[in-house]
Symmetry: C2
Subunit: 438 residues, 2 copies
C-alpha cells in the first residue's frame, strides 16, 4: 500500500475529459453492430492513408530514445515500421470481423405471470489502459474498445509520445467520418494524469495495465477500480518419470526459449528423479545450444547442471534465458512445489501416463494447465479468441488470456405489469421461476 | 486511500491458518458433487442437533449487546432464535440441492490435430468474508462455499462473538463426519486479524464484505484482492407521462417502504411534469400513510411536497423512510439525472408507452433496469438463483445479485502430443480453431 500523497486528485480538466469519454461511451453503447464495424473499417483505412506520417513520427521517437540511450529490447518494442503497422491494421480488420459480443441474452426467466427477467450482455463502459513503449497497443485497444461498445482512456509511455499523438489524431479523424463519436477515445499525455486516472472510479470501470510487474502491482495498490492484468508469470514444466524424452526436451526448449520475455515462458523445470539422468544428459547440451543458463538444486548439479539455484530462484521470474531446475521424488512433490512457488499462470506436464496427466490437470490451480505441449500456447490468439486485451492471473473471471469478453458485462432487465415485492413476501403470490428459451 | 500503517502485516499464526484453509480448499476442489452435497446435509443435521446450544449462545450475545445499549435494528439483525435458525438450516438444504456449478465445460476447441483446448469451471479457491451482526451469515456462506468447493475464512462482528463461535464449532463437528476437511472453514476472532486478512493476496482469492457502505469502501481501499460488494445503492424510479397512476404509486410505495434499509430501495423519485400534479395529489397522502418523508425540488414543493431537497439529497442513500422527489421535463432529463447521481444499482420506469420503456431499458447503465415493477426485485432469491452471496455494483461480472456463480472461476486445459509454439510462429503449422461439442 502506498501513501495517498502519491496519487493526485484528478484536475478539473481531466475530470471533464473523462466525463466526455463516459458520455460518448454511453452513446456508443447504443450503436448497432454495423455502425461499430464500419467505424473499425474507417479506422483501418485512415491508418493506411496516414501510415507515412505515423512511421515518421515513430522514427522521431526512436531517434530521441536512442539519444537517451534506451536499451535494445525497449527500442524493439517502441518501433512501429511499415510492416508492424500493416500487421496492426490487419488486426483492426480482424477485430471488425469478430462476432458482436453485445446484446446476447444469457438468461431468460418467467418470474411470475407478466413478470419476466432477462440478462443481456452490454459494454463495460469506459476502460483505462496504461501501457509502456509499444505504440501499436493504441490501435489494438481502440479497436477492441469500439468493437465492444466501450470508451477508452489511454496513457502510453513518454518514449512513444509522438507516435501515440499521431495515432490518436488518426483514430479521431477516422471516427469523425463514422457514426461513432470520436470523443469515446482519449489520450492522456502526462504522468500526473495517468496517476489521477486511478482515482476516477465512477467514470472508469476497468484499468488494464500493460507493462512491467512493478507497474501492475503499483496500480493494484492504488486504485479502487478493478484491474485486469498479471503481475507474475512463474510458470513450471514438470517432466514425469513416464515422459517421452524427445517430447520432453522439445517442449522444455520451446517453453523457455520461444520468447523468454513472455509471461507464459517457464522459469522452473521440475524433473522426476527416475528420469532425471536420462533427460539431463540429452537436454543440457540442447539448452546450452540455445544459450540457456541452467541453475540447479544439488541433485541436478550432480547430474551435470553447472549453475546453482538459490532459494530465491524458485520465486524469480527471469524473463530471460535462465531456468531453475529441481529434481523431485514424485508428482506430489512437483504439485507441492507449484502450489508454493507458482503464480497460477500456466503449468505443464510431460508424461505418457494418462492417469498422472489427469491428476496434474485436475490438481494444479492455474489459469492454464497443459499436458504434452508448450506453455507458450497460453495466448488469446492461439486460443482462437481473435484478439487479446491481456492475460489475467487473478482467479476471478475473466481469467487467463482474455479476448473481447473482458470488455463486456451484463445487465438484468425485468418487464412487469405493476408487480410489487410485498405480494411475494406476504405470501399472496409465489414465484414461478420458469426458464424460457434464450 | 488509507496509509499503510492501518493494515497490519499478517501474523505467523494467521498466515499458517490461512495456508491450512488453502490446502484444505485444494483438497475440497477435488471432492465429488455427492461428497459436497453430503457434507451440507451433515451440516444441516448437526445444526439441528445443536440448535439449543446455538440459541443459548445467541441469548448471551443479545444480553451483552443490550447491556451495551446497542440499537434496535442491530439487535434484530443479531438475533438468531429457533425460527431464524430453522430457516437458515432450510437454506443449507436448499444450497445442497442446487446444481453442481463445478466441472462444466464452457469451451471445447480443436486448436490443431491432437491439440485440444477446453475451459472448465472450478472453485475460486478461498474466500474471505467480513460481516457485521447477523450470525446466520456464517451458515449461509459456509454452505455456499462448500457447495462450490471453496475454503472460507470468516470474520463476524464482535457483538455476535459467542454465537459465531458455537456455529463454527458445529460446522467443524459436522464436517468431521463428512469427507470434506473441516479446516476448509476458519473463523477469525480479532479485528487485527480481519485487517491482516486484506493482505493475504495469494492465499485469499475474493473478499466479500457484508455490512455498511463504510466497511465496503474501507476494504476496497485497503486490499489488492478482488472485492465483491456494493458501496452505494442510490436507486431511482421514474414516473413517465404515460404512466398508469395506480401502478405508479403502488410501485413507488413498495420500492421505498417494503424494506427501506435495503440497497435496492429507491432514494429518488423522478416524475414527468405532465403527470406530476395528478400523481402527487394521489401519492402524497399514500406516502404519508406509510410514514415516508418526501423532500422535493421547487416544482414538486409547488405541487404539495412539504420537505425541501438540497443538492446533497440527490446523492444520499437514506436507507430510511425518506425519499427525494424531482420533476423532470422529459425522459432525457430523467436519464441524465440517473447518469449523474445514480450508483448503477437498480432503476425503474413506470410507463404504458412501450417505446419509452425500451429506451429506458437500453439506456440506463445499471445492473438492474426494470419496467413497471418494484426495484425491490433486485435480489438473488427473487431472480431464482436459490442463494445469494451478495450484490455487486461493480460493472465487471459478477454483477448485480450474485448466486453460486460468484464463487466459481474457470481453468483452461490443453492436451497435446508434443506440440510447440514455434511451429506455429514459424509458419510450419497453422491453427485449426475448430469448435467441438461441449
Amino acid at each position: 500500500m502506498t501513501t495517498p500523497s502519491l496519487i493526485p486528485e484528478p484536475t478539473q480538466d481531466l475530470y471533464q475529459r473523462a466525463t466526455l469519454v463516459r458520455r460518448s461511451a454511453n452513446a456508443l453503447s447504443q450503436a448497432s453492430d454495423k455502425q461499430r464495424k464500419s467505424a473499425l473499417i474507417a479506422i483501418a483505412k485512415t491508418l493506411e492513408l496516414r501510415s507515412g506520417e505515423i512511421v515518421r513520427a515513430n522514427c522521431e521517437d526512436l531517434n530521441n530514445a536512442s539519444k537517451e540511450g534506451i536499451g535494445e529490447a525497449l527500442m524493439a518494442r517502441l518501433k512501429l515500421d511499415e510492416v508492424k503497422l500493416a500487421s496492426a491494421i490487419e488486426g483492426v480488420r480482424q477485430v471488425a470481423s469478430l462476432c458482436d459480443p453485445l446484446g446476447i441474452r444469457q438468461l431468460h426467466r418467467e418470474l411470475d405471470h407478466e413478470l419476466t427477467l432477462e440478462r443481456v450482455t452490454v459494454p463495460l463502459g469506459v476502460i483505462g489502459v496504461i501501457f509502456e513503449a509499444r505504440p501499436d497497443v493504441v490501435i489494438q485497444i481502440a479497436s477492441l474498445a469500439i468493437r465492444s461498445g466501450n470508451g477508452a482512456i489511454l496513457k502510453g509511455g513518454s518514449e512513444a509520445r509522438l507516435t501515440n499523438k499521431v495515432l490518436m489524431a488518426t483514430l479521431h479523424e477516422a471516427l469523425e467520418t463514422s457514426e461513432v463519436n470520436a470523443n469515446a477515445l482519449s489520450l492522456l499525455t502526462t504522468r500526473q494524469e495517468s496517476l489521477a486516472l486511478l482515482r476516477l472510479d465512477g467514470l472508469v470501470d476497468l484499468i488494464i495495465p500493460r507493462g512491467s510487474n512493478e507497474l501492475v502491482r503499483f496500480i493494484k495498490d492504488n486504485t479502487r477500480i478493478p484491474v485486469l492484468g498479471h503481475a507474475d508469470g512463474i510458470c513450471h514444466l514438470y517432466i514425469d518419470s513416464a515422459a517421452d524424452l524427445t517430447q520432453a526436451s522439445r517442449i522444455a526448449i520451446d517453453s523457455k526459449t520461444q520468447y523468454p520475455a513472455a509471461c507464459n515462458a517457464i522459469e522452473t523445470l521440475l524433473i522426476h528423479e527416475d528420469i532425471a539422468q536420462d533427460f539431463l544428459v540429452q537436454a543440457i547440451p540442447e539448452f546450452e545450444s540455445y544459450g540457456v543458463t541452467l541453475l540447479g538444486d544439488l541433485k541436478s548439479q550432480e547430474l551435470g547442471v553447472k549453475g546453482s539455484a538459490q532459494d530465491h530462484d524458485w520465486s524469480t521470474e527471469y524473463l530471460d534465458l535462465m531456468l531453475s531446475v529441481k529434481i523431485v521424488h514424485s508428482i506430489d512433490e512437483a504439485l507441492e512445489h507449484i502450489r508454493y512457488y507458482g503464480s497460477r499462470h500456466t503449468e505443464g506436464i510431460v508424461t505418457t501416463n494418462k492417469e498422472t496427466a489427469e491428476k496434474f490437470l485436475s490438481s494444479v490451480d492455474s489459469s492454464g494447465v497443459y499436458h504434452n505441449c508448450s506453455t507458450r500456447f497460453a495466448d488469446g490468439f492461439r486460443y482462437g479468441f481473435g484478439a487479446e486485451i491481456g492475460i489475467s492471473t487473478q482467479t476471478l473471471p475473466p481469467r487467463g488470456p482474455v479476448g473481447l469478453e473482458g470488455l463486456i458485462t451484463y445487465r438484468y432487465r425485468i418487464r412487469g405489469n405493476g408487480h410489487i415485492a410485498n405480494d411475494y413476501s406476504s405470501g399472496k403470490r409465489t414465484f414461478l421461476h420458469k426458464d424460457l428459451p434464450l
